[in-house]
Symmetry: C2
Subunit: 241 residues, 2 copies
DNA sequence: TCAAAAGTGTTGTGAATACACCCATGG
DNA sequence: CCATGGGTGTATTCACAACACTTTTGA
């Protein structure tokens, strides 16, 4: 199938990561400050080049650890999509595979290779354009966050934000932070505990905080939720992409 | 960020296409019979190498036309995901970006470059393993078909299978073919016509067939459907991936 | 007149919302 | 005893599945 071999040799492949977590009830994203060309000093997603014979998924985990010191254990990681516009990188033809990672609240990241800083940043600062990112990383963030938002509806992804054991209110705060809307605590509790396989009670209560001690849960076996937990569409005409 | 330049030079990128259509109320997929190494004589997805400075999306359309004679006009095309296992291609490191295409019933494909045959094939023959495909193309087909099945639920994707103008029954047969289940005609009709922006009446009827002449519709403006048209989950425990 | 297909009416069931209210703890 | 957050009760609204039934054509 190749036409002339020279036509393909210049292309390089990277993996970039959108790592999301909830910090103080706010959706945060892991960013690094670039140390090298291009865009030195700019904020960007962690990521880097795929090595020969390295699965792309492993590139993602390796770069995450190299640039931020965060290990991929206990991290939900899934591919979002691939960005292949010819002019997206000034270094030449660089195609990137974007990943979405979901983490429970993690320690401060430690900058490593190619990064002078690594920090959790409220996702809204990127989505609202107040913080500019290098390359087409803002688009990647938008797509990844929308993926997370919609997967909260029909999968058990929200539990990946929680450290076990967690309470129903912990889970509700995940939905509220990711969707940016408040939910009725009572109705949410019922819906979650009645959705087969979403969460399993441990039998214990969480103590030490004010208010009635909540029951503790761990992740259930279900991957997809039926019925789904739908966002409230305003207007309902549904012309959103 | 590159370590040694030699580490990246060997990687090549392809675009592969899962083109779906409905033929005689059955979900069909467009396959080619390979003319070249590797796997000559095997059935496979249409696709080919990304050229220098060519957007990956354009590669997909170009290869589709080159190998099957089908033009990308009036074709819904979206990326599914990227497959990057190091050993997925015996020629070396070849990473592929898979696309899902949805087409209304099209003429017979004409084999072109690198393909000795091109044909519509019932998707079940591939999904049930009765027809073996080259590379990891069966996995790609499974993922693409599952994407189509779930997007029928919460988007207006089904209309991409229909030639305008179409009837509600045409649309119902799309759902039935893709989901592999029968739907109640009356309830389906109500649901579709009441879902804001899904279809718009043209005012005309289709004549010449037996039975009461159905109203004709064109695609509405909505991209997402609310409320969604959900598949009937049996058992409901939702442990599917 | 009959078969076939389209589309409406009707009814019972289940789920979602809004919100009142009770529970169990820390201060 | 009060504030705080967790959780249940309940009425209303809404959506859906099942299926009877009417409509309108071709044969």
């Amino acid at each position: 199938m190749p036409r002339r071999s020279g036509e393909h040799a210049q292309l390089r492949l990277t993996a970039d990561l959108v790592i999301l977590t909830i910090r103080k009830d706010v959706l945060n994203i892991l960013l690094i400050k670039r140390g090298n060309d291009p865009f030195p000093g700019s904020w960007a997603l962690p990521g880097g080049f795929v090595s020969r014979d390295e699965p792309v998924d492993r590139t993602a985990l390796r770069e995450l650890e190299e640039e931020t010191g965060i290990a991929g254990e206990a991290l939900h990681l899934e591919q979002v999509r691939t960005y292949g516009a010819p002019d997206r990188d000034p270094r030449g033809r660089v195609v990137t595979v974007a990943y979405l990672g979901i983490a429970p609240d993690l320690p401060e990241p430690q900058p490593g290779t190619d990064a002078t800083h690594a920090a959790w940043t409220p996702a809204d600062r990127v989505l609202e354009g107040k913080l500019k990112l290098a390359f087409d990383h803002r688009t990647i963030v938008e797509d990844a966050v929308e993926r997370a938002r919609s997967k909260l509806e029909y999968t058990s992804l929200a539990t990946a934000f929680c450290t076990e054991p967690f309470t129903i209110a912990d889970l509700r705060r995940v939905y509220e932070a990711v969707w940016g809307e408040t939910l009725d605590p009572g109705n949410f509790s019922r819906k979650v505990t009645k959705t087969d396989g979403f969460v399993e009670p441990t039998g214990d209560h969480r103590v030490g905080e004010t208010g009635r001690p909540p029951l503790l849960y761990r992740r259930g076996k279900a991957v997809t939720l039926y019925p789904p937990i739908l966002r409230t569409r305003i207007g309902g005409s549904g012309s959103t992409a």
